[in-house]
Amino acid sequence: MRTLHLATQGLEIGAAIGAAPLFVGWVNQCRAWLQNRRAPGLLLPYRGIRKLFHKDAVLAEHASSLFRITPYMVFGAMVLVAAIIPSMGTRLPLTVAADSIALVGLLATARMFMSLAAMDIGTAFGTLGARREMMVGFLAEPALLMVIFVAAMISQTTSLAAIAEHLSSQTLALYPSLAFTAVAFTLVLLAENARIPVDNPATHLELTMIHEAMLLEYSARHLALLEWAAALKLFNYACIGIALFVPWGVATGSQGPAGLLVSVPALALKLAAAGAGLALIETVSAKLRVFRAPELMATAFLFAVLGLLVHLLLGA
C-alpha cells in the first residue's frame, strides 16, 4: 500500500510537470477555436520552452544573485504545490507535510520572490509589474484562503487531501456555500494566473501587463523555467478547483491500484473541460482597467466570506 502511495505521489508530480505546458496549449487551442482563428499546435508551449533552454542567458549588468535564483525558487514552489494537491489520489505521503494553508503560503512565497526579482533590475516596467502583481495578490491570497476555509469547515480539516476525500465520499449534493466559493475561486484563478480580465497572457502592450512585465529582463533558461512555472501554476489552480468542487473519481486509497485507472482519465477529462471553460471565459470577457482589478478581487473575497456565512447559517 505504501509503495502505491509513493507511486501515486511520484506519478502526480511527474504528470504535473510534464502535462502543464500541454494544458496551456489546450487552453490556447480552445481559445483559438472560439475566436475563429486557426489553432497553433497543441505542443507549441513545449517547443517554446525547449528553444529557450538552448539559448544563452543574458543577464542585466547589475542583476543580483536573488535575480538568478528566483526562477529555481518559483519553479520549485510550483512543483511542491503540485505534490500537495490531491489530483489523482488522496493518500499522498507529502500531504502530511503541508496542508492547504501551507499551500497558500507556498503560492505567496513564489509571488513574493517573483516580485522581488522584478524589482531587482530597477527598470520602470519591472517595478510596475511587481507592484501590480502584489496589488492583485494581496486581495487574491485571502480570497483563496477563504475559499479553502469553507471547504475546510465542511470537512473539518485543513488538509486538502482529506477535504477532497471527504467531499468525494458525499453523494452528489449541492452545497450552497460551495457554489458561492466556486465563483470566488474562479475569479481568483483568473487573477492569479494573469488571464483576461485581469491580465492578458498574449499581450504585447507593456503598459497593460502584469505577469509579463515582471519577466521582461529574463531570458533563456531562466525565462524557460518561469514560463514553465507559470504553466504549472495554471495547472495547479485547475487541480485545486477540481479537488475542491468536483473531486469525484479521485483515488482514495481503498480501491488499490485500480483507483488510479479511474482517477487518471477522470482527471484528464476534468482538466480538458476546465481548460475549455477557461478559454470560454477569456473569450467572452474584456480586459479590465488595472484599477478595476482590486474591485474584482474584493468581489471574490466577499463571495468567499459570504460562502462561509452561508455555511455557518445553513450548516451546508
Binding site: Y72, G76, M134, F138, P142, T158, R221
Partner: protein, 665 residues
Amino acid sequence: MPKTPLDGALVLIAAWGIIGLAGLLRPHSVRFVGRVLFPLSALCGLALAVVAVAGMAAPTSRALLLVGLPDLPIHLRCDALACLFLLVLGAATTGISLFAGGYFRQGHGTAPGLLCLQYHIFLASMGCVLLADDAYAFMVAWESMALSSYFLVTTQHRLAEIRRAGFLYLLIAHLGAIAILLSFGVLQGGSWQFTFDSMRAAHLSAPWATAAFLLALLGFGAKAGLVPLHVWLPEAHPAAPSPVSALMSGVMLKTAIYGVLRVSFDLLGAPPWWWGLIALGVGLGSAFYGVIFTAVQTDMKRLLAWSSIENIGIIFAGLGLAIIFHGFGMGALAALALVAALYHCLNHAFMKSLLFCGTGAVLHATGQRNLGRLGGLMRGMPWVAWLTLIGALAIAGLPPLNGFVSEWLLLQAFLFAGDVPRAFVDMLLPVGAAIVALCTALAGYAMVKFYGVIFLGQPREPALADAQDAGFLERAGLVWLAAGCVALGVLPVQVIGMLNTVCRGLLGVSLADPATQWWLLAPTAARGASYAPPVFMAMSALVIVLTLLAVRMLYHRRVRRAPPWDCGYVRLDARMQDSAEGFGQPIRHIFEPFFLIRRELPGAFDRSPRYRMEISDRIWRYAYEPVALLVRRVADLVTVLQQGRISTYLMYSFVTLLVLLGVVL
C-alpha cells in the same frame, strides 16, 4: 551556583546592571564600550535565555528581597509565564547587544558610556518587570523601563523632532502607567495588600473584575501600541538608535503582553468570554489599521514601527480568542489560541529585531532613513541584504519561516472554533480569520516594498554605490536573529512543548501532546490538519537543487552580461523605478478613507513644479489634536491668574484667607 531559575535570572540582571555601570568608567571610549561591554551583555542575554528555558520546567520559585522602603520588601516570583518572557528578553538581547556593540559610534548625542548605562538599566528593568510579584516592585520596574527607554529614544536630543517624539512617548507611557496603577488598586479588592498573592486570593465581584481588566487593557495597551493608543510608536521608534528600536519593538512591547496575561489569567483567574471579544476586536482593528499604514510609509523605521502595531494586534487577537474559548470552557482550543499568541510573541521578537537591526546597518552605511533615497544596496551590502531578506519573508508569514507557524496556529484556532454557544460569536470568528488572512497578505505587500526599495533596483543616490557592508559584530548579531527566525520556523514542535508548560500554568489545560513525532505539527484533532516544517524545508531544498542540477546537466550554464533590456529603452536611470510612494499607491487608492492625505499638486504653468504628498493618521488629527487644543485653552485661562508679581500672589492669599474666614465664621 544559583539553585533556582529565579536566582539565576537575578544574578544575570544584576550583571547587566554592573555592565551598565562599567560603561561610566570610560564613557567616551567607543572601543571599550562596543568591543567589551556589549558583547558581555550579549553573553548575559544568552545565559538568561538558557536559564529561562531550564526554568520553564522547574517549579515556581519565589524570593523576598529586603531592600527599598522599610516594611515594603520586594516580592519576586518566577513561574513558567515569566520564564517564557525572560526567554524572549534573553534571546533577542543576545542578537541586539552583539549588533549594538558594532553599532554605537561617537556621535553628537549621548556619550557611548552613558548610553551603555541607559541601555542596561532598560534591560534590567524589563527583567524586573517580569519577575515582580507585588504591585510596588512592578510599578517601580515598569517606570524605570519607561524612563530608561525615554532617555534612549532621545539619544539625539539636539534635534527638536526627536525631543518631541520622546515627549509623546513619555506622555502616553504615563497615561498607561496610571491606568495600570488604578487596575492594581481595583485588584487588591479591599485588602490593601499589594502583593500579587493577595490579589490572586481576592475574589472580585464581576463589575470590579471587569473594571480591573479594562484598566489593565488600557494601560498595557498603551505600552503595546494598540490602536488608538498607538500614536507614540511611529514617532519613537524612528527617533531611537536602531538597536534600541529593536529592543523596544521586539521586547518591550512584549512586556505589555505579559502584563495583560498576568492580570487576566493569573491575578483575575477566570476571565469571562466577552472580555475576549473586546481583546479580539481591538487586536484585529490594530492589525488592520497597522498594516495599511505600514504599506504607505516612506521612512523605513516608521514602516517597521507600524508593522509592530500590526503584529501586536495579531497577538492580541490570539489572546482574545484564547479568552473567548476559555470562557466557554473549550480547553483545547483556548490552549491552541494561546499557544499561537505566545508563539507570535517569540517570533516577533526575532523578526522585528532583525529588521530593525538591518535598517540600522543601512542607516550607518548610507545615512538615510528615507526610502526615496535608498536602493540597490544588495550589491554593496550582501550580508545585511540576505539576512534582512529572511526577516522580511518571515514577517510576511511565508513558509517555512517562523511567521508562518504562528499564523498557521492562529488560523487553525479560528477555523475549528466550531460550536461556540453564542451564535453571533460563531459567525464573527471566521470573519476574524478573513481579517488575519488579509493582514498577512498586506504585510507581504509592505515587505516587498520595504525590501525591494531598499536593497533591490538601482541606487537612487550616487553615494549609495559605495555603501559598506556591516562590520563583524553587527553581522554576528544579525546572523543570530536570522538563525532564530529559521529555527523557530523549522522546529515548532519543540517550541510548542515549552509553550505548553505556560499554557498549563495559565489555563490548566495544554495542547494535546504534539510531540508524537518531532517533525510533525498536528495540534488539532482534525484529521490531516498537519504541517511538518522539516520535511517541507527538506523537500523545497531538494526540488530546487534538483531543478538546478537538471538544468545545468541537460543544457549549459553560459551567461552573458548586458545592459538591462527594458523593452529597448536605452536611457534608463534610477529615477524611473518606483519610489516608495509609487509602490504604496495601490494601497492608498484602495484604502483611501482610512488615510488623511494632503496633496500639493503643481499647476500647469508652474515654473518649478513640485509634487508633495503627506499621509497622516486620522486618529491623531481627530482624537488627539482636539484634546491637546483643549488642554492648551484651559492652560491659557489659568495664565490669566499668573501675573508674575509677588504682590499679586500675596493678594490672592489674602483674598483666599478672607473668603475662608467668611466660610468658617
